[in-house]
Symmetry: C2
Subunit: 258 residues, 2 copies
């Protein structure tokens, strides 16, 4: 870092003291890892807001006293973790990223796949998310939310005889419930889990199943419109526990070769 005679004392590098250190492991082996660590620390010390410009690749490389390629390595990592955004062109450079819940959902989904989470673990988490969301929806849903729920229900009813299409409509309905909770964390987690669970649901569908699902949806809308969080929670919990046992039962049956 000594190689930056005019870069010292200004910019990012000086702010790196022993701050919060949520993710900094302390001993960094590689140079780029150290740069990543420093930038993250600065960002989460709260001095920089989303949209702020950090500078250009080249100027940052100077400030940190590393070559442009090393800086690039670090920036690509930060970009992939969603910490920064990179823009080309004369007004381009490195910017603090706007939060992106779509990316959050994507990252969760990737990791879930890699970790090799069991179906039961996924379903249980789905239950946790949706039960809470249903309760919150009953408290927080706006008129627009309720209209969206009715629309989703109508669409699902229309498709009750087309197994695959119905599954998508049903998931959309559940998504509307989660959206009505007005909780972005729950929403992101729901999206991630849906990605992973989709194949399962599509497989287990049938017109008979679909009709039961529609009845459930109607009842849930009633709870939400009546502003009864506890009733909504219980309804969703009971319903999803049933869905879970059916899915796991099917799974066992399938594995038994029947």
């Amino acid at each position: 870092m000594q190689k930056a005679p005019d870069a010292e004392g200004s910019g990012l590098t000086q702010m790196v003291g022993p701050a919060e250190r949520l993710w900094s492991s302390g001993k960094q082996t590689t140079l780029s890892a150290s740069v990543i660590d420093q930038i993250r620390t600065v960002l989460f010390a709260g001095r920089l807001a989303p949209g702020d410009r950090l500078g250009s690749e080249a100027s940052l490389a100077l400030q940190f006293g590393v070559s442009r390629m090393t800086m690039r390595d670090a920036l690509r990592s930060l970009q992939a973790s969603g910490v920064i955004e990179v823009k080309v062109g004369i007004k381009g450079g490195i910017f603090v990223a706007e939060g992106n819940s779509e990316r959050l959902a994507e990252t969760i989904a990737i990791q879930l796949k890699l970790i090799g989470i069991s179906t039961e673990e996924l379903l249980d988490t789905q239950i946790a998310i949706e039960v809470m969301a249903a309760g919150l929806a009953a408290s927080n849903a706006t008129g627009a939310d309720i209209k969206a729920l009715h629309d989703a229900l109508a669409e699902a009813e229309r498709l009750v005889d087309d197994a695959e299409e119905f599954t998508w409509a049903a998931i959309n309905f559940h998504g509307c419930v989660v959206a009505a909770s007005h909780n972005r964390v729950l929403a992101a987690q729901f999206r991630a889990l849906s990605h992973v669970l989709m194949p399962l649901y599509v497989r287990g569908s049938s017109p008979d199943v679909a009709r039961r699902a529609v009845a459930f949806q109607r009842a849930l809308i009633a709870c939400i419109e009546a502003r009864e969080p506890d009733a909504a929670r219980n309804l969703v919990y009971g319903r999803l526990q049933f869905v879970k046992s059916r899915q796991l039962g099917d799974l066992a049956k399938g594995e038994a070769g029947d």
Copy 2:
């Protein structure tokens, strides 16, 4: 591994057909983004398992027909998203990553900070996770889990007069409950949320609060030992709703300047 100059016909690149396409947006603007997309697609098509070796930087660059630096860019991104692991040395190279729930927790925490999630959203998600975890713990807890819970309780009781230390012990207790659920998704999400919520909890602590918390912990252990999932769920739900209202109340009071 042949010197495929334009990378056609061998290795990874040929497997890239229009598969599942969960995350591939189709038109890629940059070369490295295209490489990232191709590798991700191949990985999630299921042909490769965690721990598999993809090759060295150089050989992959040859296979994809790009320069080593472009390949590096792509690899750094994939590494940051936890898709691959990179090892140095004679037996090193690029490997499919083992799932890493610690990384999952870290990524979730980063994104939560960036998105600027509200305290209420975080607390509600925490409630969702812990209620489900408590119910599962009552069903699944092993002898070792229950011993860990007792140990955590004893430690918390010991620290009841030291606000800061007690907060850590209490969070540890909650962590033990989540661990006893034997659900890794819930566990990762709990860790991520804990990172972000920690400062809040530390602030709102006092010996009086601590004694109520210990009483709750004792009751929860009883439910788990008695294998009563519903009782455990209700207990945790009631308790965390109380904690939430206290936190949000404190917040409002603080903001009002008193």
